[in-house]
Amino acid sequence: MASQLSDNERWMMSFYRYSEITGALFFGRIAALVPAGQLQEDLTKHFADESMHSWYWTEAISELGYRPVSLRNAYQDAYLEAAGLPVNLMEILAITNVFEKRVIGQYSRHLRVPDLNPVIKKTIDRIVEDEKWHIQWINKALKSMADKYGDDTINKKLQKYKKADDEIYGKLLQENQERLQFLFNNTENAGEIRS
């Protein structure tokens, strides 16, 4: 089905696709490394979800009669620079918790775009359901790690990564102001691009 899609929308869909691929590759490697148990099971499901999400975006772009834009940098790439390298599973999950919340926030913002293409809406609705589960299992896993690392340490890490994520997102908005303007062209989102 060919449909009118702006260059900016196509870029955004390709950006989502590439970020989902990056997430899948990362979680696949972590899932392959952790010992058998609940954590391994959840990480593997998470990896499979991210992988499917990248397919949903590929499928959606194709359904609209386009091809993905070639990209080289994912949102997560900026994390290591801004937040530092996570070196244990708690830190990996704390970063992921913050990232997943950002993903849900971003997709929710996209859903508020007026006259949103139904293919994009369907794809986001499908993905957001999985993202909710991602946050649930990660919160549960982080709670189970409190004995080992302490609640205080985990909370400090979450705060640290949240601060880094705010910086990364702010930078993304600044660097792609024109491209992302369509996400903020409604009353509800107005002004947010400057925040």
Partner: protein, 86 residues
């Protein structure tokens, strides 16, 4: 600080496995990032070392770690700390 043969051997062997660089080419003064250029690989290496040595590391522990020697010293410190705690 001189590292124990246990942690030295394990780290060198693990680094060699991860980087495919022969053991004889991994020395104390080599930069970790020169050996492990891929950040994801570095994360995997750290998870693997903690699992193998049964120690816990945090992000902040690695702020002063630049070379293989620095990492060996850190691991040695952690192993010694655990031995004292037992």
């Amino acid at each position: 600080m001189n590292s124990s043969p246990e942690s030295t051997n394990l780290l060198i062997k693990t680094l060699s496995t991860f980087t495919k660089i022969p053991v004889e080419h991994i020395h104390r003064d080599r930069e970790i990032t020169e050996l492990v250029a891929d950040s994801f690989l570095l994360i995997e290496l750290m998870l693997n070392l903690q699992e193998s040595l049964d120690i816990a590391l945090e992000q902040e522990d690695l702020e002063q770690v630049h070379t293989v020697g620095d990492l060996l010293d850190l691991l040695e410190q952690r192993l010694a700390g655990q031995a004292l705690a037992v």
